[in-house]
Symmetry: D2
Subunit: 333 residues, 4 copies
């Protein structure tokens, strides 16, 4: 960590700061230049409160030179992490095609969708049982019963399942779930992350709406620092001023995360865009950008004329997406 | 709620949509114009999934005309809500001057700060016991012991206390806390909000970094819909592209929230700006904008040369702020 | 255009508004619902000041149902526009591979780069002669001499050239330029757009850092409404809170623009990301998303050890990008 | 300027970089720490292309320690600049109350508004003659005739006038204008800024919708570096994700700009919020934050029932605002 001191800092002020830093078991290397004095902090700087340091009157700016995340850091773990979820692998060349309905609604629905997406090429089944909703009056999901139905669909198709947790007190219900999802709104629910870190389940961690990639990695670190290294990162769009799409899908995140971390990165174009017509092109773009997987909402209700065109793809559209994703993966090898 | 249909929607498609809406116990009023067909949905539209409706192929756009929040809505509750926290009132002309250290560090510290800010004019004491930190390696607060020390300071000074909860499983520790704070990162931790809605404690709900004012009100609604109407809203800066301040303080929020809701609105200039020198002008601006209170970090460590200039004010600076805030309140009556 | 009136609007207020709208040669269709009154405005609403209408006390909200752009609108021009720049076509299945150095520096440099990128597969040459720079003290480009050198490179290789204009008073210098670029900072320099609309040159119009896609199309409309229909839209990243990339490349823009407009859409991953290592994956992603072209900075200075890794690709890296872009285009057909 | 090199940079690579920097007439001070090497660049770094430096493979990060603006910099000009516009002073304790209609519409209108706002306490008259509009089909202002009418109003009331320029080729029309405004969309129209720098007119420079405060100061520097030091900075709201206000007014900007620069800072709450009801509280907040002036839209059309509640204040509302602004200014002395 580097701290640049303002011109005009007195030797006494600087000494105060150096003493305080040494008190935190850091070595401090002072370099006085013509215009500026730079302090190099050596040792375990992950405990240093960078915001506090920045806010000091005498400090011009602070810059980490080693990232504050350790276990998620590629520097200390150069090889891609490969996550094992049931019989499926994700990362290091293994691609996750995660598909399923927004919410689990009935046994017939979830089994039919599961069979359909499996035939098209999905290797993981998603479906919402606990649903985070902006309004307390909106449908909040089938909860425990939804998980039970997902497990029926898993039994029927062999597809491992991915579903979201919102409250650590419901963890027991996730005993047979293959990948536990943490939603965007809970990305910095640190107590939840720590408890999930004590399990040995793969965790799919979604980026918060306004969180930087470094914050996403720090949240992964919360899970990993408790002993669970099975974390999958998920880009799902960030909040910007643009209003034609629900969120702005940040595909540069795939390469940036791959460079900084060894963890696999999947992309969710359905939630990012909020429009079915944008899902296929963004699924192709995510694949071309090097994602380790994509996560797509698919419905299976031929009677529901309404559903066509909504955020979920039809099984037929999903089949086409799977086909082209495979071709793009061959093209970028 | 109004749904505008795209040109070219067939009568059969429209009928499907109308049937689906009626199935949700809504009356639908169809208005065919020259260029466009507008559906007016009448009834309890708070359960309608607006995102789903928007994402339908045939739908051009959807617009709520009645806000989706009810209990927080000024339309149904025209008078300002006045919150009672201990002997202190907030809202409806009563002003909260909330001050205290970022973190509780020791009994001496918290009592000394409490006495000092009380003398200057604070009527509520804040202090962090559970600290949400981006890094798992950073200091996470004194936790239960921190709350115990806050209660000692309350005993010593009579100031009611405000402190943050991060995990519903620690609720018992907050039995004697006067106002429970929900931090920005937990603004959409809906399960936490619902549990707090079952208490009768005043809740200080901070706006999330990238949450709209309507989402803030919907989160207040989560608490209120469970029976707890004692909610204080808090603006504390939003995330934007600007980097000279930690966040961008959105002071228009004060008037907008006052117009939409009867709940009191306080402003936290310390976290919003991250620099002590910006705290006084933003405290004055918040007061002039009509806030029902401000929340300021104050430290009390004359030996700590470091602390001057950091995000926290010195007791002397805080004294000056209290004085000018009083004068501005008189000026805008 | 739809205007939704607030509950409680009096008949007299509404009549005032209706009279005012009729005064602008609009027909007004009034639809009174149970909760809300909707005015449907019929006629040429492109002249209506939507911001003014929105700001009226009695108006709840305003929604355009027909887009305010006409000539750029796909509804009135369903077929893809194909732009002809020299012998090269762009749009409607024709792909622009635009490459060249950030700035023109010398005749040797620009001719060498031009020859190199042509061999790899570029069909258009880019290079900055007039450089918009945040600082008045930074190098502002070779200006007229830079354009002269680009024309030499065109003569040597046959590649049509693309270069940026910053001031309409320099238009004469662009007489032999094939495509005139309008930079992000000038996207809403309306007087410049209008003057370019009076030429018959293809215009490459870059999206502003904080402009919506609708504003981009309105700026295209400024050019087209003066008679020049040869507009190429360019996505080059938007400003968000994320700091690991210079900007956030918004690839959904490609599909959204293709849906709304018949104009070709190219993507500039070099400026969007600011890091060479991110340029290839974002070039692949843009291609997979359906872009009509990409625009890449390439340098050609084997002696310059510095340049490797900067925002510009080496000729060798560019060669690889061209190869994979071709393969991805085949994959998504 | 400080450049931090990545671990693993070879001595040869570093030497290349040092040679290149020295070639730009900079002294380079190399400081090798345990984890990191820091280069301190000494000399005129305002010409260094920071983006290029950052993008180099071997460079971890770059940090300016001296701001890139010189003439706008308070370090080199500690005293507040006081701008003289006609007989009115702005800055250094002198407050500008700028008021007038959005657009000049007729001689009667502009003179009536001018007389009214003068009586309430305005000391400068604003009014749009050239109007930047998103749509080419919208009313673009009365142009030269609008300026002529503003000059009539100036003659009638003695109020100096402020109006916007969009195109340098119209500069002659501004000969008798007291303050020339550069709008948000032209904040980085560098050629326009340079030409205005050659005049001796006070320039009111509005912050762009997505421009940082440092970029605003660099645009002021464009004007000042050509010889015109009469620049007034104007905060008018930035673009964020929030949609209840047209833009988000960033009032921290006032203090930040005052700290970095000696130039006066005014605030425009009318354009920032887009709603009349938000203008008074934001005018009070801006005053309390220490602004050197505010700029408010006022209409004067008692017959226009429509206008009440729109973005413009009525003369009566403006009168009240002037009164409270005076009281707040006294309170914060």
């Amino acid at each position: 960590m580097i701290a640049i001191l303002k011109q005009g800092t007195t030797p006494a002020q600087m000494q105060h700061l150096v003493d305080w830093l040494k008190h935190m078991n850091l070595d401090v290397h002072v370099s006085k230049g013509a215009e500026v004095t730079v302090l190099g902090l050596i040792g375990d700087t992950s405990r240093v409160d960078m915001e506090l340091l920045k806010s000091l009157e005498m400090v011009e700016s602070v810059k980490r030179v080693s990232e504050p995340f350790k276990q998620a850091n590629r520097k200390f773990h150069p090889k891609d992490t490969i996550i094992q979820a049931g019989h499926v692998r994700i990362g290091g060349g293994y691609f996750a095609m995660i598909a399923g309905p927004c919410s689990v609604e009935s046994e017939e629905q979830i089994i039919a969708v599961a069979q359909s997406v499996k035939e098209s090429g999905a290797n993981l089944l998603r479906g919402g049982a606990f649903k985070p909703r902006t309004s307390p009056y909106a449908f909040q999901g089938m909860k425990g019963e939804g998980i039970r139905l997902l497990l029926e669909a898993k039994k029927a198709t062999g597809l491992p399942i991915v579903t979201e947790i919102m409250n650590i007190n419901t963890l027991d219900l996730f005993a047979d779930v293959d990948i536990i999802q943490v939603g965007a709104r809970n990305m910095q629910n640190f107590d939840l992350l720590k408890e999930l870190g004590k399990t040995q389940k793969p965790i799919l961690l979604k980026r918060g709406l306004a969180n930087t990639l470094q914050e996403l990695l720090m949240s992964a670190e919360y899970i990993m620092s408790e002993g669970n290294e099975q974390v999958i990162l998920c880009e799902r769009g960030i909040r910007t001023f643009e209003t034609t799409t629900r969120n702005t899908l940040d595909l540069s995140a795939v390469s940036v995360l791959h460079k900084l971390s060894h963890l696999p990165v999947v992309v969710d174009p359905s939630h990012a865009t909020g429009k079915a017509e944008l899902v296929p092109p963004m699924a192709y773009a995510a694949t071309a950008a090097g994602a380790d997987g994509i996560m797509i909402e698919v419905h299976n209700n031929p009677a529901c004329a309404l559903c066509d065109g909504a955020q979920s793809l039809t099984p037929h559209q999903f089949h086409e997406v799977c086909h082209k994703v495979r071709k793009i993966r061959e093209a970028i090898v």
